[in-house]
Structure formats: C-alpha cells, structure tokens
Amino acid sequence: MAMDAAGLHARLREKFGDVVGPLEGSGRNASATVAPARIAEVGEFLKTDPALRFDCLSNLSGVDYPKQGHIQIVYHLFSYLHRHAFVLRVNAPRDNPQVATVSSVWSHADWQEREAFDLLGVTFEGHPDLRRILMPEDWPGHPLRKDFVEPESYHGIPTSRESLLKA
C-alpha cells in the first residue's frame, strides 16, 4: 500500500527519532534531512521495512552550496512494490565531506557515489571501490564544485583557445 509523505516521515521518526529532520515539501518532492553518518542505517531500514520497501534508489545527486558551507547529497527513493517516493538529504561540510555509503543497500548507489566522489569530492565511507569514474585519474580537483577553476592545460593540451571571431 502506498503511503503518503506524512506517513512515511512519521514511520522514520518513530524508528530513528531526531536523526531524521522535520518534513519539508510535499507530494513526490517531500524530503527529510539525515545525519551523514547514519544514512546507511536509515537506508537499510527504508529498504527492508515491509510497510516502506524502498527497493530502488532512483537518483543520487550531489549539490554544492558554498554559502551554507556544505555539500548536499540528495537521495531520491522509489518503491516499485508500493509505488511511493521519498527524498532524503544529507549535508556534509565542504572542507571534508564524508558520508556513509549506501552501496551495500542499493547496488545502483555504487556508481552514483563514484560519480559524486569524482565530480564533487565527497568521500563515501565504506564504499568498496571509490575511484574516479568520468574524469581522468589524475584530474586536479572536482569540477562540479562552485569554486572549481579549470586548469589552463592538461598534459600539454590547452583547455581553451582563442576565439576565431576576435578581430
């Protein structure tokens, strides 16, 4: 049976108390914030609890918020069994972002976490194979950070060129 956002949130609060933050938003975009170290436990519970059964991690995105000083990892969860959805958010400090891995809960998280590590520099504690996935192994920095500065060249290859339209 599909549960609404309030019901899902109440079930989480009942189990984890203050580890799960207050309910924000509504409908498909209803979300709650979770402490970075506890996300794996929460995920495990969401997947195995018979009333929740979030069998699918639909999306995992990292967002850099330099003003707030944190990187937010957003987990979009979906249950094919019950056809309900919920969003979890985890805020990790920008200077040393560490989040517990959920790759043992949902296999899809393996590659998604590698992508977040590659592009945003988030370390997923306990990930079995955390290495770059899209960028070259020796690429400096993490491109999706807001303060990333593109290097002028990479192995002698310039990353920009003069505009042909310039007089």
Binding site: C56, N59, S61, V63, Y80, D110, W111, R132, L134, M135
Partner: protein, 387 residues
C-alpha cells in the same frame, strides 16, 4: 602489463593435466564497432569465457551538467540535445518539464500534443537504431539496412518539423518551437500506414529467426529484483518482467488521455529478463508508439503551441525531480534553482548509466561473443552514460 586505472593481476592456475594457464586481460574498446560509442571494457578471460568485464567510461564526458550552471535556463536547451543524441527529444522534454515545474509555467494543450508526437516518433527513431544495430552486432547485416531505411523517413519528418535531423532543439520551455508544418500530419499518417506492416516484416526477417533467437535466448538473464536494485529503466526493466512505465504510472504531459499497453518480457524463448526479452520489448514498444501517434493525429486540438515565458527566466528558488520515459527508460532530472537567471545545479540520471553498471555482474562466465549481445540488448548510448 598495465592498463590505466586498473590493477591488472595475472593469475596462474594449474589444470588437471599439469599445464599452467594464464588469464588473459583484453581491452575491448574504446574504438570498437559494437560498443555503440566510445567506451571500453576491460575483460579478464580464460580462453573464450570471461571471468569479469569491467566497463571503463568517461571518454565522452563533456560536463554537460556544469555547462547548465553557466548558460542559463533557455540557453541550456540546445545542450540537452547532446546528452542523448540518439533520442534528443526526450532530453529537451526533460529539461523543459523541470524548468516549467520550477517556474510554474503551463504548456498549452496543442503544445503538449506536439511534444508527445515528437517524443513517440523519437522513440521509434531510437528503437529502430537499437534493434537494427543489435542485429548487426550479432552478425545479421540486412535488418540494419531495413531499420536505417525507415529511420531515414523519420529523419525527413523531423527535418521538416524543426530543421534538424539529429539534435532537434524542437521543444522550448513553455511548449515547442514551431507548430506542425502544413500537411505534416498527412505525411505522418502516411508514414504510419507504411511503417506498421514493416514491423511485421521485420519480425519475419529477424525477430523469430532461429539463429538470432539462439544467440539471445537465455543469455544474461536479469531477475526483476536485480533490475530494480540496479535501477535499470525502460525496456531493460520491462524485459525483466516489471510492468512499469513512467508514462502510465507517473503520467506527465497528455499521456493520461492516450491509450496504450506496456509490453513486458515473459521469457517466451527462454528465461525472463534474457537478451531476447529486452529485444522483443523494444519491437513491441514501436507498435505501441504507432498506436499513440494515431490517437494524437485525431485528438490534437487547435490553439497556441507555446506559453508566454519571460526571456530572462528566473524560476523561484527550490528544487525539483522530474521523471520521464525516454527511449532508454526512466530519465530523471534533478534541477535546483536559486532564484537567479542561472540554474544552481542540474543532475541528469539516465537509463544507460544504470544499464552499464550492471554489466560486471551479468557478464561473469559469459562467452566474449555474448558480451556483444548483452551490450546491444541493453541499448547503451555512450554520450548518455558520460554526459
């Protein structure tokens, strides 16, 4: 021996005859005709049997998500064409949907119908390439020429619709760029009249050909649980017997007004979720797309095709996650706005990215030749993996 980024270990083992054998590490790609773009597999094989196949991706990474943060809401639309250039309409549609939801824009009815027509044509367009190149990868060349021939008619239709044959940029935030040209609907009906019998011909030619079926049936079956765990989407998920289609289950646009079925894999030639099931689901989806198009042709109302949208769009701060059914399945767009003229973040979750991540799991103990069938049956499109 070293392959960049991979620890390669040479393992020696003695078989019963006392002969020392060695695992062979093969690099398949990045330039390989059946990897459907630039991607590489590092294969550890014992003779013809693979012990593992590890995908190495990123060759086509253009950081499209970073570009979104630099070019503004309207400016990003042409870039979305390049996310999945085999099915560009869906990427246009995804970005438009996300922006519209953030900015609270309502699309006129005729605009929605134009979008659905474009989407479904694009689905046929993409599936034709998918099934055609799959047959070619497996060794049957003729079906590919048939598929490309039909695709050419579609290209002409698209060219008339939006001026482009591959990277369409047809949709805009708030609707579509142009109304259907005069007489275009008749050409579309004519195409459908011609195309539907050709699906039967294609079935006679290849789908149930004994050699073709033998190559695909029982190869690399994916159970429904695995498919959901790895977040497979679209025909790959439905091939495993999960009846889920975003158009039906989380409807968007005018899909609730249209009737169509969602074909799933039933293991009719082997095991549920094998390569054949994924193939046949695509064939059947093309028929359903034709059915949707026929309804659209009759139901499309008159009126404007695009809503009034400010040129300097600044959606209110907030985030949204939209899902739509692309040719490669459930495509997710997570878009964050901070209330300025530039998106704060855009994350695109594509069907091919999920599909390739399951390859190491299902390729264990397969023949190398079967890996080709697996890649083709997952309908991987490399730019969509790397973005």
């Amino acid at each position: 021996m070293s392959l960049a980024g991979f620890e390669v270990e040479v393992q020696r083992s003695k078989d019963d005859g006392g002969v020392v054998t060695e695992d062979m590490t093969l690099s398949m790609g990045p330039q390989h005709p059946s990897t459907h773009g630039v991607l590489r597999f590092v294969i550890r094989a014992d003779g013809e049997v693979m012990k593992e196949a590890i995908p190495d991706i990123g060759y086509l990474h253009r950081s499209i998500e970073k570009i979104a943060e630099k070019v503004g809401w309207h400016g990003f639309l042409p870039y979305t064409d390049r996310v999945d250039y085999v099915a560009a309409m869906f990427c246009n549609h995804g970005w438009s949907l996300a922006s519209e939801q953030l900015a609270g824009i309502e699309v006129p009815k005729r605009g929605e119908y134009c979008r659905v027509i474009a989407d479904e044509l694009c689905r046929i367009h993409s599936h034709l390439l998918g099934v055609g190149s799959m047959a070619m990868d497996i060794g049957a060349f003729t079906p590919f020429t048939h598929a490309i021939r039909e695709r050419e008619y579609l290209n002409d239709l698209f060219e008339e619709l939006c001026g482009a044959r591959l990277t369409f940029h047809y949709m805009r935030i708030g609707g579509v760029g142009w109304d259907l040209p005069a007489g275009w609907i008749d050409k579309l009906s004519h195409f459908l009249d011609r195309f539907e019998p050709l699906i039967d011909e294609y079935d006679r030619l290849i789908s149930f050909n004994k050699i073709f079926v033998e190559r695909l049936a029982n190869v690399a079956p994916i159970t429904a649980e695995e498919a959901i765990d790895y977040n497979l989407a679209g025909p790959n998920l439905r091939g495993s017997g999960v009846r889920y289609d975003v158009r039906k289950d989380e409807p968007y646009s005018v899909y609730p007004e249209l009737e169509f079925d969602v074909p799933i894999g039933t293991g009719e030639k082997g095991t549920v979720g094998d390569c054949f099931d994924r193939y046949i689901v695509r064939m059947r989806e093309m028929r359903e797309s034709c059915r949707i198009l026929r309804q659209c042709v009759v139901q499309i109302p008159d009126g404007p095709v695009i809503a009034k949208v400010p040129r300097n769009l600044k959606p209110p701060a907030g985030d949204v996650y939209v899902r739509l059914e692309s040719a490669r399945g459930d495509m997710g767009w997570y878009v964050v706005s901070d209330g300025t003229a530039f998106p704060h973040r855009c994350k695109i979750r594509t069907g091919s990215f999920s599909a390739i991540s399951i390859v190491p799991k299902i390729s264990r103990n397969l023949m190398i030749a079967d890996l080709i069938a697996v890649i083709a049956s997952l309908d991987l499109v490399a730019p969509e993996i790397d973005r």
